[in-house]
Symmetry: C2
Subunit: 164 residues, 2 copies
């Protein structure tokens, strides 16, 4: 999405178009993957722009609200975002050892979530599906990954085959 279009969107929600906001939107428009508020700030500074950290923190929720961003990756103690239009919705496999994040899509899961919401009369706004554990490489290289293979859930959520 061009940042012009984003500007129009935030304008439509009654927000003013300002220089810092334009800069932030521009910066976000060029970010590819996941990013934090701090990432946006550093990225801005790297190109000599000086919108402040506070302004970023204040703008991000609005960008969530108008659907320009979505929140992702909840298991790391701080907020991560990504542009909604940058890629189709997906979930994450997060390696606890090397930090690698693998994305996946799974229509079946979406369907199941669907059903659950319908059952409970729940109006969903967003969902998180994250699996944490060891990626193939780390599972191999860590000599004793015993204990880690035990699922926290009742299900037997174990890998059987080779990765990717």
């Amino acid at each position: 999405m061009k940042s012009d279009e984003s500007l129009k969107r935030i304008q439509n929600m009654g927000l003013r178009v300002t220089v810092p906001r334009r800069q932030i939107l521009n910066e976000i428009a060029r970010l590819k993957g996941h990013f934090s508020a701090e990432d946006v700030l550093l990225s801005l500074r790297a190109r000599g722009k000086r919108a402040s950290r506070v302004t970023i923190y204040r703008l991000l929720p609005s960008l969530l609200e108008v659907g320009i961003l979505r929140e992702v990756i909840y298991s790391e103690g701080h907020a991560h975002y990504e542009r909604v239009e940058a890629k189709p919705h997906h979930e994450h496999l997060i390696c606890e050892s090397c930090g690698r994040v693998v994305e996946f899509q799974c229509p079946d899961i979406e369907d199941s979530l669907n059903g659950v919401c319908a059952e409970h009369g729940f109006a969903p706004r967003a969902h998180i599906v994250e699996i944490t554990g060891l990626c193939r490489d780390c599972a191999r290289s860590l000599p004793d990954a015993e204990g880690r293979m035990a699922m926290a859930s009742s299900g037997e959520l174990q890998s059987t085959g080779d990765m990717q």
Copy 2:
């Protein structure tokens, strides 16, 4: 689980059994639902015990590691835990308006996650599935909350942050 058994488990992983640890484990053993580090502290203090906040923060990760606790509820800015044996694994519907948390189980989702891990050669340790939105009551009482109800019953659960 009796805290004796928990003590044995942490002993087996090379940790010493101490008074503060015994108190913390005792307190956790009587907690029913979700709780934070702070909850444990307050709960301890309420019964005149004085294990420190720091000790709690240092013990919790070990309890995760030995499978006495699991982490739950990631979308609130601080860590929440629950006893693994307290209830079977389940996922959460979280109302953004009233804060109510509804638990649900869904074998189909577990199966799907299973499949995904197998495909990627990923060794899962835990997973999070959370749906945030509006519970039935809040969806009704909030005057048209930005079209959130749109798919509540139609069965079209949309992607994260993608509801507009």
